[in-house]
């Protein structure tokens, strides 16, 4: 008899606790809705497969351009800003691929 009463009390307490939790969650729900909405962060539209700015993607048939690393080894004539002053007349006939291969031929 006593056990039965204690069980009833325990069940009642458990159910009441659940009701309190439910009540609190229902009350909190509209307040949490205040979190809906925000500001677009700068650059957030770029997402997915993005590489850091220092990395250059190596694709099929393209030679990686690690220019900084080989700056000292590039012939002075090739670094001129104005293409018409370039002494080598043959260089203009070369494709980019051939030019780069020439540049790094020594390595």
């Amino acid at each position: 008899m006593k056990n039965n009463l204690e069980n009833n009390k325990f069940v009642k307490l458990t159910l009441d606790s659940l009701l309190v939790v439910f009540l609190v969650s229902v009350i909190i729900l509209p307040v949490s809705s205040l979190g809906i909405g925000g500001v677009e962060k700068p650059g957030s539209e770029v997402s997915g497969d993005v590489l850091p700015s220092s990395t250059i993607r190596v694709e099929e048939g393209v030679v990686p351009l690690e220019i900084d690393r080989y700056m000292d080894e590039i012939p002075a004539g090739l670094l001129t800003d104005t293409p018409e002053t370039t002494s080598s007349s043959t260089s203009s006939n070369l494709t980019d691929q051939e030019l780069l291969e020439d540049m790094f031929a020594g390595n």
């Binding site: 729900l29 809906i36 909405g37 925000g38 677009e40």
Partner: protein, 185 residues
Amino acid sequence: MFSRILIKLIDQSIVPAIMLVTARIISLVLVARYFGIEYTVGSQGIVYSDAGGYVLVNSYSVFIMVVLLSVGIMYILLKALLFHETHIAPHLTARLFSLKLSSVIQNSFDLYSQGSIWLSYLYLILLTSGVMAYYGLIYTWVFYVSLILTILTSVLFVFDVENELDLHKGSTTDKTEEFILEFKE
């Protein structure tokens, strides 16, 4: 088995909760459209293109929520002050029954459970608007308006509770007076 008060409180809290969430979502969209602020709806919710636009929309949205809550509480207070079953005027009772509006007359348990739930929503939104105003997410006037409305509704609610307590005291005094009259006889 279940606590009657808790069941009643949950019952009373569902309608304002749905109303507030709906008001929030609709107001965010409508206010943005009204002011011509660009927004996108995605996995992160409603995202606005600039911070100024977000503050504007957020302020008006919170303001609309507070106004809706205040209107709800005013309706409950009106029922509590005029149509409370403990102190409703007899002619008003007769008129309400003739208009088949007897459901407007409510007892203290219904009124006070409703009032406490709606007031707790108002307090929570006041608290949140205070934090938002502090961090510059809404205009400060929204917080001040919320504060004034909260104080006003709380005071009116307390007045009604005081009336109710006075009535209970009065009924006890009446019984005492009746006893004295019998003693005199």
